[in-house]
Structure formats: C-alpha cells, structure tokens
Symmetry: D2
Subunit: 389 residues, 4 copies
C-alpha cells in the first residue's frame, strides 16, 4: 500500500493549482456568470486559457489531444480544478461533457468520434445527455423511461419529453436515451439543430455552475439515421452504467475542490474576525467545525482515491462508486454548510463565494442517484450478493 | 395544563389559513418577487388584501388598529401566515417591521408613535433596524459596535457603517443603534431621507423574501435631534433584548409555517410519484423522512407555544428564547432539507417553491444570533446561574 | 393554552421529588441491585417506603387505593420518580406492572381485579406480560405470533415459547397473549405457579433496572379456565394497543427523569473539574453538550405533556404516542450519551451512576416498538390517512 | 498510489483470520471472561494458541521474537485480530501492553528490555501504564499531574494516586508517569510487587475486554533506582506522545475488527429474520443502516491505512492520529449502535455478542483523548499552524 504521488502527478497537481488560482479565480465575479450558468462566451474565453496552459480536456486520450489521465490522476487534477467554481468549465471537465467524452471514447465509432468527439475534446463544442424525464417517466428509476425510438426504414424516429438536461441550452450535440419497441433502451447521437429537437425552456435552479443550465427538451418526430446509434442497440442501460460509475466519482472530485475552497475561506475568516474577546477560530464552537471540516474533506478524498484506484484496476465498482457518491456528497455538503455558518452573514450573501457554492452543491446529493437510491442499492448488494467491505 | 385553543384563536387561525391559501399563495410566482425581495409595489397590493381581510398588523395594539395578539395568539397566526413565502409581508408581520412595531409600542413616546408607528401599523410605511456592522464592528457580538453618536447642542451627530440591514432599500424610517461617548449604546429614530443617510448598495443574498433586501448603509454626520432618541439614553442594549427575545420567536413561528408548507408539498409528491415499483412515500427511505419531518414540525411548534406562553406570563425568557431559536431553526431547516431531497430535481429548481424556501431559510440559523452564540449563552447560564429545565 | 400546573400537581411533584431524593437515591448502590435487576426483597423494602409516603401505585384508581392520576399528572410524577434508577420500582410504576395495572383496570372483571389487581396495586405482588416470541414468532411484528390457545371443554390449553418477558422471574401472575384457532389473538390471566408454566432462563441484558429481569418462558399444555380470559376473546391486539399507547408514554416519562438526573450530574461535574486552564463547562465543546442536553430534555418533556393531554382528552393517540416514543427515546438517549462523554472515565465506570443509566436506557430505542417500526407506522399514516401535524 | 497488499500481508491476513475464527471465537463465552476482563488464566491459554500459530506479539521486533510489523502491516493484522473480543488478548496486542511494548522498544535500555520487555513479548508477563489521576490531577489534560518523584540519593521516591489504570490487576510491571521537582515529567519502570505499590480497588466499568480491568493504584514512598528511569529524565510527555500516536491508531484497528464483526452479525440476522412480510434487510429502514455501516467501516479503514502509511514514512502524525482517532471512534461506534438496533432485543442481551461489544466500545470515544480534546487540538493546528488537508 502506498499513498505517494508520482512526479507526473505532483507536477500536474501543481500546474493545475497555479492555473486555477492565477487565471481562473479572477473570473469568478465576471457578470457572464448568469443564473443559468456561465455563458458560452465566457466558457470560450476560459477554455482558451486552459488550452494555453496545456490543461484542456486532460482526461481525453492522447490520440484526441488529452493527457490520458488514469482515474487516480483525475482524482488529483479534478480536485484542483474544482477549487474554483469555474475551473471544471475552463478545463472542459465539467458535467455532462466530461462523462460524455468518457463514454464516447469507449463506445463511439471512429466516424462518430471524428464528427462529435474531436471538436468537443478541443473545447470547441459542448454536448448534453438526455435521459431524465418528467413524471411519470424516468427519474431516479431509469426503467420508467417513456421516450420511444421507433424503427422506420434505416432511421429511428424519436418522440418524448426530457427535463433536467444539463447544458442543454447552447449545446452542439445530444446523446438521447430512448426505448425501443422491445422495451430495451438505446442511445442515439444527434446534433442539436436537427428538426424536431426543441429546448422548451430553461429551468430555474439553485445552482449556476453549469454552462447551458438545465433545460426541458422536446423530441418530436426526430429522425435519426441508424449510423448515429451510439454503440449497440438495446445496450442503453449498460452504457449508462459505464458512463455513470466514473461520472459520479468525478463529481465527488470536483466538489471536493469546492469544499476545500470553502474550508480555506472559513479558516481565513475564523483566523481574523473577532467576537467575544478572541478570534472566532479560538472559540471551540467554531474550531470544532473546522476540525470536522478537515475530517470530512479527508474522508471524501480517501474514498475518491480508493474507488479511483479500483476503477484503474478494471473493476466495475458499482458498489464502491455508490458508496463514494453517498459518502462524498454528504461529507462535502456538511463542509459547505459549516463554512456558511462560520461566516455568518457573509456566508449567506454574495460577499464571499460561499453562498454560491452552497447553492451549487445542494443538487449533488440528488443527481447521479439520490443518496436514498444508492443506500438502497448498496443494501441489496449486501443482503443478496454478500458484498462486504 | 391545557393545549386547547380558544374560539377566538381557532377563528383567527381559520381565517388566516383561508386568506393565505386563497389570496396570497397565487401571488408567489409574481414577477415582482425579485432577487432582493418583493417590490414595494407588490407589498402594497398584498397589504391591501390583508387590510380587507381584517388581518393587517394583527400584533399591534387595538389603539393603533391591530388585534393586540398575545404571544400565544401570534404563535397560532404567524405559523399560518408563514405558510406562504409572501404571507408575513402581506400581513405586515415580517422582520424587521414586526419587531420594530413591538419595540416602538413599548418604548416610543406618543409623538414618536404618531409620526412613525401609526402609519407603519396601517401598512403605509416600512422600517429597518440598523445594528450590525462590518468587521471589526458589531456582528454576533454587539459589544463591538463602532458607530458613534456624539452630542452636539440639542442634537446627536451619528457616524458609522452598517450592513445586513434588512429592508433597508425603500424603508421609510430607521432605528439606529449607536454608541455614546461613555461607551453605552442608544437607539435613535430617523426618516430615511435625512441628509447623511445613504444606502450604499444592496447585498446579494440567498434569500429573496424580505421587502427591501439587505443593504449596506452609511451614516455620515447624520444630525438627529434629542427628541428622536428612542427611549432612554444608554439603554440601547436593553431595548435590543426587549426586541430580540420575541422577535426571535416570531421568526420561529413564520418559518414553522414554511416548514409545514414544504412538508405538505413533499407528502403530496411522495403520494403520487412512483419509482422502483411503488409510490415514493411507501419506500421507507422516503417515508422515514416524512415521519422525521412530522417530529421536527411538532417539536418546533411545542417549543414555540411553551416559550410564547412564558412570555405571556411576563417572563423575560432569555434562556428559553435562545433555546427555542436553536431548536426551531435547526428542526425547521432539517424539514426543508429533507423536502428538497424527497422532490429530487424538482426540489432544487423553481418547479416547486421548495428551492426558494430552502434558500430563504438558511440564514435563520445565523441571524438573531447564530446557533453557536445561543448554545454558548445557554451553557453559561446552566453553569453559572444554575438554570435547569 | 396553558402550561400551569395545578396546586395538586405541584404538591405531588414536590413530594415525589423529596421522596426520591431523600429516601430512594440512598439505595442506589445497595448490593441487592443485581445484574438481573433489584431483588424482590429490595423491592419490598422500597415499596414499603412509598406506601409510607403515600406515593405507592399513584396511577391506580382511588377504588383500589391509588391517586387516580390523569396522564398529565403521570407526566409530572413519573418524571420525578425516574430521577432515581429505583424510583419507579419503589412507587410500583415500572414496566410491566404499570401498564398491566392500567390494562387490568380497563378490561378485567371484578373478580379478576380482586384476585390479581388489588394485591398488585397494594404492592404485594408483581406481574409480567408474555407477548414477544423467539424467531420465527412475534417480535416487532405481533402478527407473527406462534403461541396457540386451543379450546378444550371450558378451558383453553396454551402452548408456546416467549422471551424477553420483563419481570418474569419471581412474578406472581402473567398476562399471556396467544392465538386462537381462528387466527385472532386473546389475552389470558394466570398465576405463575400454574402447571406447565416454566421460566426457562434469565437473559443477560445490558439493563439492570427491572425487578425480575427478562426471561425466556415456556408454556406447555397450560390449562386455563375460560373465566380467566382477560376481556373478550379475539381482542388481544386491540387490548395490546390500549395498553401500549400509554405504556410507551410512561416509559418516556420515567426515562426523562433519568436523563435529567444524568444531566444534573454532568453539570455538577463540568462546574468543578478543570482541564486546560478552566472548568470543563466553560469549554464550549462541553458547554454546547450541556446546552444540547437542555434542548433535548425540554423537547422530550413537551412531547410527553402534549401527548398526555391528548390521551386525557380521550384520543387514542396512536400516531402521537409513536411520535413521542421516537422523539423521547432518541432525545433522552442523546442526553445520557453526552453525559457519559462529559464525565469521561467516570462516565464509563461505576464511579458515578451514569454508566448504569447508559446501559439501562439503550433498550428503550427498541422495546415497545423500535424507532424504525414507529417511523414506518407514522409514514403510513401520513401517506395513507393524511395525518398531518 | 496503490492499495494492493503484498503477498506477505495477504498471507498474514488470511492466517490471522483463520486463527481468530477457528481458535479464538469459540472461547468468547468462556466463563473466565469476567466483568473485569478475561482472567490471567484464560489469557495464558489464549496466548499459548497464538504462540503455536506463530501469531504472538507480531508487532515486536524480530530480535525479540516478533514479526516486526510496519504500521500498515498492523492495520491489516490488528483488524483481523479485533474480529473477536478475545483476539487482541490472545495475540498480545491489546492495550496497554501493545503500546508499552512499542515504547519500550524505542526507549528502554538493553538491560531494561531483557528484564521487562523480553518476557512480555514472549507473552509470559503483562504490564500497565500509570498516568491518569483522580481529580484534581491529570485527566484529559496531562499537565495537571500530581504524582511526584523526588530524588533521594541514587533513587527516586514516588508518591501519588492513579486511576483508570488498565490491566493493573495482576500486571507484572508498571510504567509510572510522575513529575520531578522542576515540573517536568519522567517515566519510571517498576515491578508491581515493589513495596509501596498498591492496587486499591478494581473499578466497575462497562467494558470487560481488558485483562486486569481498570484499577485505582496508590504509590506510597515507592523507591525506584535511577537505573529504572525509562529513557531520559524530563522527557515523560514526549515519550507519552511517541507511545500515544501509534497506540491510538492500534485502538482504531482493533475496534474496526469489532465493528466488522458486529456488522456481519447484523447482516446475517437481517438476512434471516422476517417482519411485516419480508426479511428485515429488505426493509429500507434496516437496509439503509447496513449501507451506512459499510460506509463507516470503509471510512475508518481508509483513515487507518492512510495514517499508518504516514507513520511508516517516519512522520509524527500528531494531527493525523487525532483525526483518525475521532473519525474511527465515532464511525465504529455508529456501526455497533446500528447493529444493536438491527438485532432489537437480541442486541441488548447476551443472546449475541453485540451487547458486549457495545459496552466494550463506548469508552473508546473517551480514552486516549476524548473526541473533544482531539477536535480542540486539531482546530488549534488548523488556526495557528496552518495545517490543511
């Protein structure tokens, strides 16, 4: 057992840290960060900086221009990127693009990669992933999917309604999950400007960190040629799992960076602000919160490292990625909640970036499977499959 | 011992409930609810409805046109008012006006009441309370106050900086807390349009429920005649306590209404939405959250009732109002957090009002004394003064 | 609404408090408190003291020699009794006798009362309640009952195995819950020395506060005349509910007394013991625990009072007694756990009585329905029956 | 980074696991496990089995007959040993001997090692560590030490009172911590049968897992030659730190084994016992507890591994061992508490070993520094020394 970082990892960590601190944090109050996320324009500016720094899309394969990061490498780099609310956007490693790139690398044909993946890795385009549906469709339970893809000659015709489609506004292409007539699920690729695809509206959400926000999207008689099926027919749920286990973990990594950022701000504040005769941090009531933050941060990091290492060993990690997702989303949430409390009035207002992190992060206990679904899934594996740590 | 409501209380409860449901909730998506709170215009419209319903400023004395509610009465009525995010604004019982009206009734001269209080009770004007200061001034620790009031002839000249002044933008008058040269604190009354008073800027905050938002306010050579001192010189901190103990409790009441609203929405959702083969509410993972909500709601209500009753007996309730504030702010927070979780994606977006309640309520664990200050204060009384429940 | 105690209640409270402090606490280290509870001999001595003090079996009817306490009265008195680990035994208000007396008053025939209840109220005899069975029988789910009662002439012949029968060792009579051939459940009364009833063994348990401990009990061809059926045939589960709702609440009351006792010991210790330059209680880390204790104690008390009042109004309170049980058992547990922590080494050893309270109280989150069963039951009522606080 | 175990580690893990399961667990209900711990006689029998299995005192150096385990090795082996309540006793790696052996290896002279350490490593003798004192002496705050060592010729004469001295009854030698006249602290070695050393009494404690229990020990004019000073004069607190950081971590390891054992029992029970129509584990209310157990177990293990690895790198790990101690003691406690809850009545009685683990483990949140002292210490380092994870 060994917790040492390689020289390459240390170098990448240091370079990312410097890049985020020097180049990206200064943009955090840019007015182009809107209630529905950074604008495409701001995104392009930030992506340009990452490209210059050699830190753009680092998880993509070397063939496509990335750094071919292992999962452990990602754990190191994505935490650093997450230190700024804009870091993952700048480095092109934010949801949903990060996960889509990962999935496309594994499943897409060469032609599909050239058409959709290469420009995306270069930071020129964006994508979205259309799976979740309004009631009574697929929410936390994907088996309830209502969007249908019906074979018609060489094409598939898709009809359905999706919502909470992150990045949907202004995306260049979309991965659509739909049910075939036999009840199995399949993924389809499409440019967003194809007839029948409509962004109905942007949804107001607490978070404001995703370019393109979250949208309601309608698919009305969308005709997609069979060549644009992603992977094999009927393997939609399998691919969703391939995408999800690592995607969950990269969320854990990025939010860990945010939690660390919040903690640093809280420690700084508690070291200076006085009340009742001493600096806040010397009141045990505050100091204990800082100690708990440290525990939660390290707990999240250790679970991330461990699960990333398992993924690097080629394990599927369904159980472990559920566990890491619950542990991290809850530990990181406790951190930001405590930091808001330490800063008091400055925690709930725009005086510091904490309130934005707080609002951005709340959704993480819900998306990619709410804590309750993961606990249920873990319990089933413990009881039925004898999984034991 | 007796938990029965009087007929008058039941009638008031029923009337308020109907008023809120029928008249006020329909306004919740009105575009005049801005990021800095409902506009003055919207407020006037809502206040007009409450006046028509005979429910305006019900806590004020009958002399001034109110219903002279006891603290227990308030517990009943304010909970109902809080059921809508706009209810307390409509009924003129929101912070800071509610507490200011209470304080003015007790301390102001007849002339001061005629000039400032009567139009406020009639819902024509609004006020703010200028106490909190930026570092290194008075935050959670009021003894660190830096704003000075210097005697000059028959006037006092005030200089200082305040922030987090709720309702400051568009208020008609302000109660200013300042230090005299002898170090004691005094309250001053002033119209907001007096020379030297300047609203520097609105602060971006998570909440959007307070008319007038939260502002930074500058006092520069503000000259106030001695006749506009509120109460006696040097009694500022004492009056702040008179204002605070009940004001804390009315926060508990209003937010209890919000928590109940959130719970009702969550129960409704969990009764309809299905996943994994049954409605959400029949999954124990969700059902337990609903049971916990019920416990927390009833816990908050019981503490409110008990402390209100003690206040009605004429007790000062410093200890009990601290206790109720911590218990309620934390219990009510757990409720809204669970409701967001139950609703999943719809909990963190504007699809339902939950996300707004969530963002509105976070500050409650901080203002009127953060949980940590109240726990510290309670501990001191337990250890030093032998207070024991 | 009114939280005032009557003069009678205040008098009873004061008398009980004095009795417990002066007469009962001195017995707490008596060697007759064994690992399986106080001996019958010690019990008789303590009961004698309560008889002298006019505080024996105060919840029984006046006809039988009690004080006919209302539920609210019990809330006051039983909390005081619970202040000593031996108080409820002395006053004859401990489980299972307290609940059995309550049930017998409501359901038993006059002849049954004369034979079994009168001497029990007089403190001369003890009883037990035989419901719970080893797997695969009735545990938390009473519908799984396996003990059978078969009609044979004018008698019923009972066969089955019960365990966790509190007070079983040395009890004078037993209430047996058994299934009839039609699947319904019925209660039977029997002296313990009847042929076929056998105390198989005492179970080692963490608690040591119940006279007679907890035993495994075998019923082998136990022949019981039809005149000894308790109440009507087939109403066993209904009577269990009649017994349980108040019985749960009296547990909450007694343990509240224990929690208060623990808190007083912790406050006393934290007021004297120094570490790191000040008394423990002035360290926020300890002081906050004391403040949290106070909140939890008052929360438990308020739920007890409210539910007791509802019971006094004649409501069945299934929902509210579940809620009170979960709230109190968990709040009171947090109190004793914190007190152990405050006392450190003295909390986990016999130097103070805390470790005994800790071990005694753990079971309370389990018996009379584990927290999980009550949360499930509450959730069902919220979802299906629209119960809302 | 790498979580792979070496072949040697895997072999040791497997051998320990088999040894504990096959040889030691069968002894758990041996009557020689008394309320004050296993008897010396039982200990000798168990130690003999470990010697046969080649698993005795594995952390000692090879010179002395051990396996020279690294800290990471210990993490693997001690967790397995902890799977039985008697495992650490059998393998001679329980507190306080384990820590004393570690300290003696580093600090003792060759002569001292031959006299006291060698027979101890061979499992022939036992030791205790006399530091903690009754109020107003050294408790959580070691600087309050009252036991004095006064130079007299070539000897030191020690007077003082110690308590909570684990293993004191029947120990062969003792390490005494005492203050010199200059206020510094020094450690002394002494056989227990030296005149003036008296075991005053055994303390009743919740736990029953330590051979020799916990005792009150009096030192009255105990004359110790200067050659029996352990290490250098005045370095007592420094050595205590050398002893404590790893000793804390080995507690975390052993209790992790106990937590895993409890979890396995709970999973087994929840897989078989039915209630309300399905096995317990398929009720989410129970299943979620099992999932949470898994998270807590893995969290504890990861912190142990990480801190052990840092210790192996030669770092002092004061901060990290505090963190691991709090995280593990609290996570492991949550596990056992949930397991008790899952088993219901069988969790609080001797039917299963859970109640014993529960009572044994409560002290762990207190000894080797209560959670509050570690949080305080961590906060100080975060605020004053800029420590950041």
């Amino acid at each position: 057992m060994n917790f040492t970082l390689t020289e390459e990892q240390k170098d990448l960590q240091a370079r990312t840290r410097a890049f985020i601190t020097e180049k990206i944090i200064p943009y955090e109050n840019d007015p182009r960060v809107t209630a529905h996320g950074p604008t495409n324009d701001l995104r392009h500016e930030l992506v340009g900086l990452a490209r210059l720094a050699g830190l753009l899309t680092p998880h993509a394969s070397r063939e496509l221009g990335g750094l071919a990061l292992s999962h452990i490498d990602k754990a190191i780099v994505f935490e650093e990127a997450g230190y700024s609310t804009l870091g993952p956007t700048a480095m092109n490693i934010h949801a949903p693009d990060e996960g889509n790139i990962h999935l496309m690398e594994i499943v897409a044909t060469e032609a599909q990669k050239e058409r959709w993946l290469r420009p995306q890795v270069e930071g020129l385009t964006r994508s979205c992933f259309a799976m979740t549906e309004p009631s009574p469709g697929a929410g936390a339970d994907p088996s309830m999917m209502n969007t249908m893809a019906v074979k018609d000659g060489d094409d598939y015709v898709i009809n359905g309604m999706k919502w909470f489609i992150t990045g949907g506004d202004g995306a260049n292409y979309v991965i659509i999950m739909a049910k075939l007539e036999d009840g199995s699920a399949t993924m389809f690729l499409s440019d967003m400007d194809r007839p029948g695809i409509k962004v109905v509206r942007s949804m107001d959400s607490m978070d404001s960190c995703f370019v393109g926000g979250h949208v309601v999207m309608e698919f009305k008689d969308v005709r997609i040629p069979a060549t644009d099926v992603l992977g094999e027919l009927g393997k939609g749920f399998k691919y969703a799992q391939i995408r999800l286990a690592p995607a969950r973990l990269t969320h854990c990594m990025r939010w860990l960076g945010q939690a660390r950022r919040a903690h640093d701000i809280a420690v700084d504040y508690a070291s200076k602000r006085e009340a009742f005769g001493r600096i806040l941090g010397k009141h045990e009531g505050v100091g204990f919160m800082l100690a708990d933050n440290d525990m939660d941060i390290m707990t999240a990091r250790l679970h991330i490292w461990h699960t990333a290492w398992l993924l690097d060993q080629g394990q599927s990690c369904n159980f472990e990625s559920s566990r890491a997702k619950v542990v991290c989303s809850e530990a990181e949430w406790r951190v930001i909640d405590r930091c808001v409390q330490v800063l008091g009035g400055q925690g709930v207002t725009g005086e510091k970036i904490l309130s934005r992190i707080f609002m951005d992060m709340r959704g993480f206990r819900i998306y990619d499977g709410p804590s309750e679904v993961h606990r249920w899934s873990m319990a089933r594996k413990i009881i039925e499959a004898g999984v034991r740590s």
